[in-house]
Amino acid sequence: MAYLSMGESHRRITDYLNRFADAINYQDGDSLARLFSISSDTPSLLSLADALNVFQDANRLIKQSEKFSQYGEVVAPFFRSLQSYRLGNLVDAYGAFEKASNAFIQEFRNWESGWALEALYVIAYEIRVLAERADRELASNGKSPEKLKGAGSFLMKVFGVLAGKGPKRVGALYVTCQLFKIYFKLGTVHLCRSVIRSIETARIFDFEEFPTRDKVTYMYYTGRLEVLNENFPAADQKLSYALTHCSLNKEANIRMILKYLIPVKLSIGILPKKQLIENYNLVEYNNIVEALKRGDLRLLRSALQENEDQFLRSGVYLVLEKLELQVYQRLLKKIYIIQKLKDPSKAHQMKLEVIVKALKWLEIEMDLDEVLKDVYGLIKFHFSTCVHPFSRVMLCSLT
């Protein structure tokens, strides 16, 4: 870092303060937002941080002028936060930033219109990001990471500011999404419920009026929740909504959505095109789709085994595991078709031994009892109607 003169530091700080005051005076939400985006590492903020390190008495500058001092409660902690951030002390940076945010929220509450929503978004985002980083720092120091939790409760407060009537309500969904991110990260997804309720039960505000990006994010997370609950139709609907509204430019986001949408679609019997999987680099689903197509139970199992960790983490493992039955069905269907080719009149009578033999080809040891049990599952799919245990024959009602 090049040497920074005191005068230059002073100039930078004053410049920032001026811009801050101007942004508020002109109700310029975008500019204000830029002034808060601490983790964006923009050159202007970085240079400001350096200036702050050189010019330690920024508070005096703030207090000096009436114009700045009224924002002192926001700016002073923000400066501290920026300084700490620059020095790599993320825990302190988070603490100071939360203080600044708190002060800003107080101000925001008093503003009639929602002009500063942009800035608020940035704050909500920054507080989450800073909290995550601070937690990482804490964890690496062997302390218990708790900042993210604190950020969650802080954002809940912000949500309270926005959730009422009026122009600010538009921002509620953004904060909700940040909350989702935090909750999913913390594994406290049950906390999402209260937020969802307040979003979905509010009749005064049509969901469609929210910004699209927030809608997509919201649908993505709620869709994931439905996946966890194994409510596949609802999950399908939400995730499809997210997919169709997601900007095509956001490939990473589309991929995230597909990561959950594909298992959901699979479990309701819709297979994705290979092109899609490859386009979005979701190769872990390749074998699963293939197994479903071929009725290859072995392939499915190995695919699950292979990617177990990944699936477990993303939470789709249990969903994919349930595909086994479909693979089984596919297998039986194949047998049925073969039988039909051989002898159409007896095709509906399937000997269980045949199934066992087929499974053996797949190197899966399964005795008749288990096959019988699996057959039960198929009844759900109206594949077979009944089995006679002694004759070891299954009656297939398929076609």
């Binding site: 594994g187 493992y317 009844i379 089995v387």
Partner: protein
């Protein structure tokens, strides 16, 4: 609360308010105006106004009419004081001033200094002595008697006066005695006072009080028949006796008066110094009353009138040792003051005050107090006025006084505390003395050691007073301290230790018999020094500080060392001592400290006031600790060896007071035990330190300390040690192997807690026991409890929890199992060895089978390490999970049969559901019938040995029963084999209600079992 309470009391109780109101007409205007303005800092004008106010109030307080009469004529000056006083005790103060100026020089000074109270006393005195007219009027008090209640109230307000009287005596010994007597006179003489008095005692019901009254009465009456004294005395008593909290508030009031005094003093130069002293003194008297009533007499010694001595003696006798100690303190106090006082009188105290004021930052606080709308404010305003009169700086001074007063109050809370209060008063005096007189003077005064059995007469001659402690002991103490000259912390520890030793010796009665010269010196472990200080302080804090160690004084260490050295242990005694020391030095820092304390106490007393101290609100336990730490810290702030010494002496005296108490002995024993473990606990203590660290916390700390003392008092001498954190970690002594579980509702009693080795035996016993689960569960829970309270976290802990978890699983007690499981996970994560895999499998099974929470399942699955997945038990659990999620009942029951460890038990809980699912499945998918034998085999009914025909059969029967119970329709086919009619059953299968369901949801608590357990 306290402040308000005080005000309310003073006002309400102390008719002063009512009087004021009555007079209000007269003074009300002045008061109201003066009051508000005065707070900010009214000057001369405010003074006058105040005077008026005070006047009014005074009038109201005493015998309104008579009093007013008197005052009005005489004391504008009084009014001034009153003004300052007004809020708290305005009436009295005003009177005091009035009287002071008039007749008695000494009195006047007193009255002025004394605040309202002093004013009163002075007033009264003045009345009686100076202004007979007034006095007579008061005495006539028949009017008073009528107001008895009101009078009492006023009495409360007056208390300060009484104290003032004492102070008054201080200023002028002769005068002092007179004043002192006057109070007595008042009480006795004043049919009025007596009546009021009586009322008070009854109301308060304090035994000590009663004694006190009796004491004073007789003495006083004999001495001074003047009604006035009586009035004042009752007032003080009432205040004190009133609920302790109120009591505090009252003391505060007195303090306020004290402040007023200061201000007054400033106005009337000598008067101010005296007043403060007197103020302090009065408080002590109040506090002491139970015990220390005698002490006041000792105080007189300087002035000592023959009459006094007798009184003191009488009082002392009843008061016993404590009284002696108190008296000793007084003596010390007096000793110093006596010379110094006079000097003070001669030399205007103002400069001192100003200094102190300036030095104190407390001023701000003070202002805050002012802002406080309630009583405190009122008092403060008064003070302010006074201070204004003094100077701009002076305003702070009044606050100081108030603070002092508050301090005094605090000590007063506990009876013992009374000593402390005295000590404070002394300190104040000392400080005054120091200020006015060069230290040499101070030194010259020999400290009297309060002898338990010393006759008060000795006190008469301050110089001659023997120290309380035998010479040899003194030498011993010095030796002990000498070793730690340069280590403050150790010194502190040493001091605390010494206190213990001496108190114990006293308790044993070996104080004088023991060969101190040959007594081995104890060593103070470094760690102990702090912890001890902390621990000890809480217990004795209120008492100990006051007495100054005679030994040290005799050596006259005061002069050179005092200023430089820091107080350490005294800290515990704490604030008071510290203040004291500071006073002696003439350093106002000490003074300020006192003020601070008083302030803090103020806050405590009055919740209404803005309490800066958060600690006050904290739970008592913490406070105590905090205090301890705070005290230590304080030492650093400003403590001197002299302070330490003082504290020591104070401690001794306090200890003496306590020594008689058998409870105290016990406590001490336990305390000394604790010291043995002091090091181990140190971390805990330190933990609290940071919070309190920093000068900013001074107030809080002190306040909390005060709170503690209060709490002690309130808790009626409950064992303080019990609240110590460390004390909560019990070291068990119980040797019984068997113990019923009983949920703790209080701190565990070591005698009922089993140590680790016994617990191991107990665990073995349970493991080998043939009794039922309820018994075992009960035993295990008690073992767990003992482990918890002893903070045992090792393999034994794991074993106990594992054992319990297994037992609970065996009987399906999921609630208990879950408790154990969650504890085990914590223990495992701490790296304590155990059956990690086994319980990981259990955990998995539990999640799968019982919680049905997908998210939990996913997380616990993803948490499994690769090694864990290789473990048989975990593998099995994972297989079970797969079977369950895929509904594979065949696999499930196979796994059921091959389950390792106790997995079976957990699966047992899921078997019913699984069987039902299977039955539904079969009835839907099989046509037309399914043989029962097949079902029995698949559903694991013949789980024993398949090759054994009998069990096969019984499994079949069982299956039949089960199917029937679930509504399956069964038919017998041609070969006589039972078949399940799948088609018919598919619509009739149902899940029956569990037969053993009980209302409370836990069949294991069925009545029969429960009864069996109790027998």
């Amino acid at each position: 609360m306290m402040n308000q309470g005080v005000n309310a009391q003073t006002v309400a109780a102390a008719d002063p308010n009512s009087l004021e109101s009555r007079y209000a007409i007269n003074a009300s205007q002045g008061q109201a105006q003066s009051y508000l303005p005065s707070a900010p800092g009214s000057e001369a004008a405010s003074w006058t106004v105040h005077k008026v106010e005070g006047y009014l109030s005074q009038d109201g307080v005493p015998a309104n009419a008579s009093y007013q009469h008197v005052q009005q004529p005489e004391p504008h000056t009084q009014n001034v004081q009153d003004g300052s006083y007004v809020a708290p005790l305005s009436s009295s103060s005003s009177t005091g001033t009035a009287s002071a100026p008039q007749d008695y020089n000494s009195y006047t000074s007193y009255s002025n200094t004394t605040d309202p109270y002093s004013a009163y006393s002075g007033y009264y005195n003045g009345y009686q002595q100076q202004t007979n007219n007034q006095y007579s009027q008061q005495q006539p008090n028949p009017s008073y008697s009528q107001p008895v209640e009101a009078y009492q109230n006023t009495g409360a307000a007056y208390q300060p006066n009484s104290s003032f009287q004492n102070t008054g005596s201080y200023a002028g010994t002769a005068s002092y005695s007179t004043t002192y007597y006057n109070p007595g006179n008042y009480q006795t003489s004043g049919g009025y006072p007596s009546s009021g008095y009586n009322n008070q005692p009854t109301a308060w019901n304090n035994g000590s009080y009663a004694n006190y009254t009796s004491y004073q009465y007789p003495n006083y009456t004999s001495d001074t028949s003047s009604a006035y004294s009586s009035v004042s005395a009752p007032a003080t008593y009432q205040q004190q006796y009133k609920q302790w909290p109120e009591y505090y508030s009252q003391t505060e009031v007195t303090c306020a008066p004290g402040t007023e005094h200061l201000s007054a003093a400033s106005n009337s130069n000598h008067g101010s110094s005296l007043p403060t002293v007197s103020g302090g003194y009065p408080t002590p008297t109040n506090q002491i009353q139970p015990q220390s009533l005698p002490p006041p007499p000792p105080l007189p010694p300087p002035s000592l009138t023959p009459t006094w001595r007798p009184e003191t003696s009488s009082s002392e006798l009843p008061s016993m040792q404590p009284g002696g100690a108190a008296s000793g303190a007084h003596d010390n106090y007096w000793n110093q003051p006596a010379p110094s006082f006079q000097t003070h009188l001669a030399a205007p105290t103002q400069p001192i005050y100003q200094n102190s004021l300036d030095s104190k930052t407390s001023y701000e606080n003070f202002q805050e107090l002012k802002t406080a709308p309630q009583g405190l404010n009122s008092q403060y305003p008064v003070v302010h006025q006074v201070s204004q009169n003094y100077q701009s700086t002076l305003p702070t001074v009044p606050s100081f006084d108030a603070r002092r007063v508050s301090k005094l109050q605090i000590p007063t809370n506990p009876r013992i505390a009374s000593n402390a209060a005295l000590g404070i008063a002394k300190t104040e005096k000392d400080s005054y003395a120091a200020n006015s007189a060069p230290r040499p003077a101070y030194i010259s005064v020999s400290v009297q050691k309060p002898n338990d059995k010393m006759s008060p007469n000795n006190a008469a001659d301050p110089m001659l007073k023997p120290t309380m402690l035998p010479k040899s002991l003194r030498g011993y103490v010095e030796r002990a301290f000498g070793r730690y000259k340069d280590d403050d912390a150790k010194r502190a520890a040493c001091e605390a230790y010494m206190k213990d030793i001496i108190t114990e010796a006293r308790a044993d009665g070996t104080l004088y018999t023991r060969d101190w010269d040959s007594e081995p010196l104890f060593t103070v472990p470094d760690s102990l020094s702090i912890s001890k200080a902390n621990i000890q302080t809480p217990t004795h804090a209120s008492i100990p500080n006051y007495n100054k160690s005679p030994v040290r004084r005799s050596k006259s260490r005061w002069e050179p060392l005092a200023e430089e050295k820091m107080l350490e242990k005294p800290v515990s005694a704490s604030n008071e001592i510290g203040k004291y020391g500071s006073w002696d030095r003439k350093t106002f820092s000490g003074y300020s400290a006192t003020k601070d304390n008083s302030l803090s106490s103020f806050r405590f007393s009055g919740p209404q006031q803005r309490t800066p101290s958060k600690s006050a609100q904290r739970p008592m336990k913490r406070q105590r600790i905090v205090n301890g730490t705070g005290l230590t810290n304080n030492d650093d702030d400003a403590s001197s060896d002299s302070d330490k010494e003082q504290s020591l002496t104070a401690y001794y005296s306090g200890a003496m007071a306590l020594a008689n108490n058998p409870e105290e002995k016990k406590r001490r024993e336990s305390r000394s035990k604790r010291f043995d473990r002091g090091q181990g606990h140190r971390p805990d203590i330190n933990y609290f330190k940071p919070k309190n660290a920093g000068p900013a916390n001074l107030y809080t700390r002190r306040a909390s300390a005060l709170m503690l003392s209060k709490s002690f008092d309130d808790s009626a001498n409950q064992a303080v040690e019990d609240i110590d954190w460390d004390a909560l970690t019990v070291k068990g002594t119980c040797q019984e192997i068997e113990k019923r579980f009983l949920r703790l509702t209080s701190a565990p009693d070591p005698s009922t807690v089993r140590p680790e080795d016994v617990l191991e035996k107990a665990l073995l016993m349970v493991q080998n026991s043939q009794k039922n689960y309820l018994y075992k569960c009960d035993q295990l829970k008690s073992i767990r409890q003992d482990i918890t309270v002893q903070r045992i976290r090792n393999q034994l802990t794991v074993k106990v929890y594992e054992t319990h978890a297994r037992l609970a699983m065996e009987v399906g007690d999921l609630a208990e199992y879950n408790q154990c499981q969650s504890q085990l996970q914590i223990l495992y994560s701490e790296g304590i060895e155990g059956c990690l895999m086994e319980f990981a499998a259990y955990n998995l099974l539990c999640v799968i089978l019982h919680s049905n929470n997908k998210k939990d399942l996913l997380t616990s699955m993803s948490r499994l390490t690769p090694e864990a997945k290789e473990d048989d038990a975990v593998k099995h659990a994972l297989a079970v999970r797969a079977a369950v999620t895929s509904g594979n009942y065949v696999t499930f029951f196979r796994l059921y049969k091959s389950a390792p460890n106790l997995n079976t038990c957990l699966m047992d809980l899921y078997v019913e559901k699984m069987r039902y699912k299977a039955a539904v499945c079969m009835s839907k998918s099989y046509r037309p019938t399914v043989p029962i034998s097949y079902i029995a085999q698949i559903l694991g009914f013949s789980n024993a040995a398949d090759e054994n025909g009998e069990t096969e059969l019984s499994g079949l029967d069982e299956c039949l029963e089960w199917l029937k119970a679930h509504g399956a329709s069964l038919i017998t086919d041609n070969t006589g084999e039972m078949q399940l009619d799948a088609k018919a059953s598919s619509s009739t299968l149902y899940m029956p209600e569990p037969e053993d369901a009980v209302a409370h949801g836990d069949s294991s608590l069925a009545v029969n079992d429960f009864l069996a357990r109790t027998t």
